[in-house]
Every structure is written in structure tokens, then in C-alpha cells.
């Protein structure tokens, strides 16, 4: 017995030294991505409150620190020290599994996001499909939260929200198909590469209706206003979050914001040229803005979409559930299918300036 163990360790050591370094590099890469993301998420809550406050003629948080800049940390500490309450007769394991299942996919999708030329954690061949697959796993957080809470409101919120999520996944899938057809690749890196060459080469021009559909779908997928039926506080109090408090709730919250950042990033990658500068190929401006790094362009474009999230939330009242469903099945789905045919025809026949 002992001898076999020693033999095994001897066998393990050679690859262990080599692979350990690889694993360490992957872990460090992951942490280097996640920590900025967490800071970003924390300051998004601040930005959201400020932006929505400004749009409602208020001034938003300004008490903690200068201009209220330390407000996110105050929120974090409040959440950390709150008691975690378990509803009686709920299934505690599933109850705690739900926020984890919501949070993990929200972070896991970031593995394939290209942040610049040769600047990514994993460059897998089917990254767009991976994004779709992992994104669809996030639904379980809501399903389980509704089911394990043993309460009426979470169940209702979870039911209507999951129904919406799986309906809109179809729409987003079809939008991705159009992007894949134009870029003729399922790899996000290649999708971005094929958009190189200035603002006019980005896919938002040939796929403009798809971009609008994608953005509305993204609002639904991240459960944001005006489609936040999961927590419509006028009908079902807080929806799936009713029974959650403390850190489990914070995990749901973080998952939502991670998803928001990711959807903004995906919109930039697919329709706004990723890390490419908008002035590429324009004689004078290209040199003028040449010093700006790729990552800055990416972040600027992403921030615009995040701002759009807040702007839309401040502007529109919540949709009714059946109206969102109608929008999905009777408007967006036919529209996307027709546009797939249009794109297929145009790519096949070589029509249009962009294919």
C-alpha cells in the first residue's frame, strides 16, 4: 500500500513541477481579472445611484467620503455584517446554493472575453457558444432561489423571470447567429479582429436592428429595468430576493452587476469593434489618438453601455409581463429570423459595402 503511494508520488512529481507553474499562471490571470471587476462592480452601484439621482434632479450619495466615493465600501461592510436569515421549512442547502449558482456563471463567462490583442485568459474556439451556455446556467440561481425560499413571492418572481430568460435566450442566440455569419467565426477574438479598420467597419452599421434587439435582450437577460419582473416591488415585493439577506443577497446583487458589465462588454465586442480605436484608417485622427491603449478604448465603449443601463432605468416604467413576452415572440423573433435570411443572402451574393 505504502509502496504504491510512493510510486504514485514519484510519477506525479515530474508533471507537477511543470503543470504547477501553468496552473499558478492561470490562477493569477483569473485573479487579476476578477479583482478589478469587483472594484468596477462596487463603483457601478455608486455610479448608478449618482446617475439616476442626477436624472431625478437629486444629487445621489454624497455623505461617505468625498462626493460619497466611499459609499460602495460602506454598503459592502453593511452587507457583510448583516445576519443571514433562513426561512423556516426551506431547504437550506438549495437556499444557499442558489446565490452561488447565480454568481459563478456570471464570473465564469469572463474567461473567454478578449480585452485586447492577445490579452485574454482563454482563447477557445467556440467562445460565443461558451458565453451562451454559461449565461444560460445563471438561470438556475433564480429558479432555485424561488423554489428553495418556500415562499409565494419568490416562486412567482422566479417563474415569470425564468420564463422570460429562456425566451430571450432564443432572441439573443439568433442575434449571435447573425454576428457569427458576418464574422464567419464563433471565436470572439476573430469576431473583433474582423471589425478592424475604423468606426465604419464595426458591425453596428450592417447589423443595426440586431444591435437594438440585442441590447433589449441584454436588459431582459440581466433582469434590469424596465424588464426587472424578477423583483417587481409593486406586485411581488422583492421577488426572488425576498427571503435573502446579508451575503447571500450580496451574491445575487454582485451576479446581477457582473452580468451587466458582461453584457455591455459583449455588445462592444460584437457591434462596436472591441478594443479597436474608432479612428483607425482615418489619416489625421489615427495618429492623434494613436497613444491611447486598446484597453482604454474598450473601457470607454463599455462605460457608454453601462451608462445606457442607468439611463434606461431612469427613463422607463416597468413593462408588464405579457407585454415583454409578446415583444419576444411576436416582434423580436420574427425580426431576427428575417434578418438572418437577409444577412445570409447578402453574404452569399456579396451585396453591400461591408461583406
Amino acid at each position: 500500500m505504502w509502496q504504491s503511494f510512493v510510486d504514485l508520488t514519484h510519477q506525479l512529481i515530474p508533471w507537477f513541477n511543470g503543470s504547477l507553474a501553468d496552473i499558478l499562471i492561470i490562477v493569477i490571470k483569473g485573479l487579476a481579472l476578477i479583482f478589478p471587476l469587483i472594484i468596477m462592480m462596487a463603483y457601478m452601484t455608486y455610479a448608478e445611484r449618482k446617475v439616476i439621482g442626477f436624472m431625478q434632479l437629486r444629487i445621489g450619495p454624497n455623505r461617505v467620503g468625498p462626493f460619497g466615493l466611499l459609499q460602495p465600501f460602506a454598503d459592502v461592510f453593511k452587507m457583510l455584517f448583516k445576519e443571514v436569515i433562513f426561512p423556516s421549512k426551506s431547504n437550506i442547502y438549495l437556499f444557499l446554493l442558489a446565490p452561488i449558482l447565480a454568481f459563478v456563471p456570471a464570473v465564469a463567462v469572463w474567461a473567454v472575453v478578449p480585452l485586447g490583442e492577445d490579452f485574454y485568459i482563454a482563447n477557445i474556439d467556440v467562445s460565443l457558444l461558451y458565453v451562451m451556455a454559461i449565461g444560460s446556467v445563471g438561470v438556475y440561481g433564480i429558479v432555485l432561489a424561488g423554489w428553495a425560499s418556500n415562499s409565494k413571492y419568490p416562486l412567482l418572481g422566479a417563474l415569470r423571470s425564468t420564463a422570460l430568460l429562456i425566451s430571450y435566450e432564443l432572441v439573443i442566440g439568433f442575434v449571435l447567429v447573425t454576428v457569427v455569419m458576418v464574422a464567419s467565426s464563433v471565436n470572439l477574438n476573430t469576431v473583433v479582429e474582423s471589425q478592424s479598420g475604423g468606426i465604419l467597419n464595426w458591425y453596428w452599421i450592417p447589423l443595426f436592428p440586431m444591435m437594438i434587439v440585442f441590447w433589449i435582450g441584454a436588459l431582459v437577460e440581466t433582469n434590469r429595468a424596465p424588464f426587472d419582473v424578477v423583483e417587481g416591488e409593486s406586485e411581488i415585493v422583492g421577488g426572488t430576493h425576498v427571503e435573502y439577506s446579508g451575503m447571500p443577497f450580496a451574491l445575487f446583487f454582485m451576479a446581477e452587476y457582473f452580468n451587466m458589465i458582461f453584457m455591455a462588454m459583449l455588445a462592444v465586442l460584437m457591434f462596436f469593434g472591441g478594443w479597436h480605436s474608432p479612428f483607425e484608417g482615418i489619416p489625421f485622427l489615427e495618429g492623434l489618438f494613436g497613444f491611447v491603449p486598446d484597453l482604454i478604448w474598450l473601457l470607454i465603449k463599455m462605460s457608454f453601455f453601462l451608462f445606457l443601463y442607468f439611463w434606461i432605468r431612469a427613463s422607463f416604467p416597468r413593462f408588464r409581463y405579457d407585454q415583454i413576452m409578446r415583444l419576444c415572440w411576436k416582434v423580436f423573433l420574427p425580426l431576427t429570423i428575417v434578418w438572418i435570411f437577409v444577412v445570409a443572402l447578402m453574404t452569399q451574393l456579396g451585396i453591400g459595402p461591408w461583406f
Binding site: 446617475v51 442626477f54 436624472m55 434632479l57 444629487i59 439611463w311 434606461i312 427613463s315 422607463f316
Partner: protein
Amino acid sequence: MKKKLKKLVNDFSLGELRTGLKVTSKEFVNKKITVQFPEERTPISPRFRGLHALRRYPNGEERCIACKLCEAVCPANAITIDSEMREDGTRRTTQYDIDLFKCIFCGFCEEACPVDAIVETHIFDYAFESREGSIIDKKALLEIGDKNESAISKAKEEDSKYR
């Protein structure tokens, strides 16, 4: 027909949503109207009815003569008064309690008072640390009156034109 076409174009270019976004983006850059409460305060009418106070005459004698009109008129039965004769033969209160949980701040006590003894000041940001704290007695009321006498007399003077 033309109208229908116009509506169709407007619908498909998300016209109404654009209108909404335009409104919010305009307000985004407008001047904000929030009043930062502890540092800034909104103007208060001279007739504002806040925390109660008992006043004194300029020579230091308390005004209240224990006529109990305020106790009688109080619709919430928040006032309790007890009195006895002092050595100089005048009648003064020995007990003057107001239960602020019962009080509805109607200002009837102030109206009923023949000597302007009980008044309602402009203080509205006060708090109790225990349940018993809601009952303020004569000593506390007189103290509030002493502290805020200038503000009270100024508010009375401003309001006297309209009475």
C-alpha cells in the same frame, strides 16, 4: 394614410422611447434641487407648530397661571396640569406634562392660552432615547422656552399682523 405611415416610422424608430430618454438626459445636466438637510434648511412659516415650550415674562416670572384651558381644549388629552397656591397668593402650576406621543400638534393649546404661556416652537428635529422620554415636564418645557425665547417672540411678532 400619411399619418399611419408616420406612426409606423415613429414606432419602429422607437420614437416614444427616444422622447423619454431625451427628457431624462436633459434633467441629467440640470441644476439639482436637493436641500442638504442638516446643513441647509427649507424656510419655515412663522405659524409652524413644532415642539412645545413654556414662556416667561421678561422679569423671569413664568407666564402660566394654571388656568387649565389648554388641558381642556387638548383634543388628544396630551396635557396634564396640577397646581397650587404660592406664598404670594398667586396660582402657579406644580406639574405641567405633555405627552408627545399623544400630541397631534394641532396648536389649540397655544390658541387657548390667555397669557401666551404655552407655545409651539419651530423645533422639529428632536428624538427620544427611551419611551418615557416622550413625556416632557414643566422644567424641560421652561428650559426650551428660555433657550428659544428670541426665536419665539420673533415668530409671534411676524405672525401678529395676520391675527
